[in-house]
Symmetry: C2
Subunit: 318 residues, 2 copies
């Protein structure tokens, strides 16, 4: 396959790029390097099977030209800063909804009909059913991030129906692991390195969340693409367990060898639009033969180790 | 109330404008007159309670300036040409998704927090449950129209959650009645006036559809706005019956006194993305006290009479 990976220099995109190369594929990475990092592509570039274009997914003509000759698009680029939707709503609309439209139009212009999309469990809003299956009751959106990703899913599905595309959509839980560069583990590790005596936790710490190790996530994407036979294929992608934020805090502190005083900001949610309980039913993907190799706890610990070994990443966003 | 009605010169928007005025409200109509008609606003303008701005919902600064001083927004402007999504996908994205984002941003800039939105039953794609309730299993989108409207719904819901807006979202079936200016009754009447001996019907004619009379639609919107107490309120809006396309053809031909030879283009769907069965469960809105006054058959007949009495409308699009 000749794969086109938007956001291919980012956390998940670069891990996917490495995996595609190791499986013998060629990759075109397309990234604006707003959060992506050249460092993450070092091994991939050494393989000689990767070309990199520095460009924005909103630049339709560059995107279309760069995609030429590819047969499969992994659309991973996104505004993944879930928490800040309300300070800049245009960013979610541009980077998650319009960007997906641009990717689809570039595919159509190039005659490419296979797309893999990183959606999110946030599109379930605050569901009533746990674990939440893909065909849960039609949810009400609670975050701009979720709404903007749902819009992307809808466009992809309509292109599959209308233009004969084949789509594989994954609704991710939060992803952890090497190259992880934003999210609660990042924030906690950075804070504890600066001051190991205290830690502020958003909400009451009892938010229940599910996480998945990035290696398991990338394997799932390739397996789903390979084995899903439908026109539009939608898969939840997460661990079959969840933890409370305080569990995660405990694992992080143990690994770092610190015993901070924990201060909770209070409330059931960490921020407006934060879902207090995310736990996805991943039976559909598991029935195709996928299963995660790391527990949430092991994923958190591996992430802590990675961040401790790469302090420049923590400083880059300080 | 001082209402701001996008698409206020159109079929549904102008009917709503008339109804708002007769209830003693003031109205600002905002319309680009791409399908809206000055003729539809004649009575409203005579009341002295309407101001009209000719502008596009994509013009953020004009939209924001025009909305000043209003307290409730009825966002009715849309690309309603469901069938042509695939010839111009950007139109659905611009006119239905981005336009809704612009309306929300204009509201935020003006401190307006009440929005009524005309969504569509098309967002259910091809559901398995009939009549289809609002919390049907999470659907897969089958048309750009549906996908672009679902994106609008998601943004509105996220603004309600994030900025304290109150939203009332109606998922319309096809609307019929006076000022109706596109859709199957329009096409059939125009065709039969040109040649009463034959009629081409898209699909096999057995598509099952639900329709609602525009007067009942407008009453429902005002009642829903008045009585729905939640932050995000989502209502199906349709008749509690459906008909086959061939039923509708029969009523139209009877009313026009013609007996054409019917030619079916064949297939279960009239076009790609056409849902072969639309029938919404409207229990939620009915439980607030709303019910339609006209049957589908009576709505179709009234529409035929209106079109026959206003042939300039048929010619305007010929």
């Amino acid at each position: 396959m000749k794969a086109f990976v938007t956001g291919g220099a980012g956390f998940i995109g670069s891990t996917l790029t490495d995996r595609l190369i190791s499986a013998g594929h060629d990759v075109v990475v397309y990234d604006n390097f707003s959060t992506g990092k050249e460092e993450f592509l070092r091994e991939a570039l050494a393989s000689g099977r990767v070309t990199v274009t520095r460009g924005d997914v909103l630049d339709q003509s560059l995107l279309t030209a760069s995609m030429r000759g590819c047969d499969t698009v992994f659309h991973i680029a996104a505004n993944a800063d879930v928490r800040y939707g309300l300070t800049n709503p245009r960013r979610d609309v541009d980077q998650n909804t319009l960007a997906t439209f641009h990717v689809l139009e570039a595919m159509r212009a190039n005659g490419i009909g296979r797309i893999v999309f990183s959606s999110t469990g946030s599109i379930y809003g605050e569901p009533d059913v746990f674990p939440t299956p893909e065909d849960a009751p039609f949810p009400v959106q609670t975050s701009l991030y979720g709404a903007s990703k749902l819009a992307g899913e809808g466009l992809i599905s309509a292109y599959c129906e209308g233009y004969g595309f084949r789509g594989v959509i994954f609704r991710f839980v939060s992803i952890l692991g090497e190259r992880y560069s934003h999210g609660h583990v990042f924030d906690f590790v950075r804070s504890l390195r600066a001051d190991p005596t205290r830690l502020t936790v958003l909400g009451n710490g009892q938010q229940r969340k599910s996480y998945l190790y990035v290696g398991d996530c990338v394997e799932a994407m390739l397996l789903g693409l390979d084995r899903a036979g439908g026109k539009v294929n939608i898969f939840n992608l997460g661990a079959d367990e969840y933890c409370e934020v305080t569990d995660s805090v405990g694992w992080i502190c143990d690994r770092m060898g610190v015993r901070p005083r924990i201060e909770f900001t209070g409330g059931e949610r960490g921020w407006i639009g934060d879902s207090p309980f995310i736990f996805l039913d991943c039976t559909r993907l598991r029935s195709l033969g996928w299963k995660p190799t790391l527990s949430i706890r092991d994923g958190v610990i591996r992430t802590v180790d990675f961040l401790q070994a790469h302090p420049w990443l923590l400083e880059a966003r300080a």
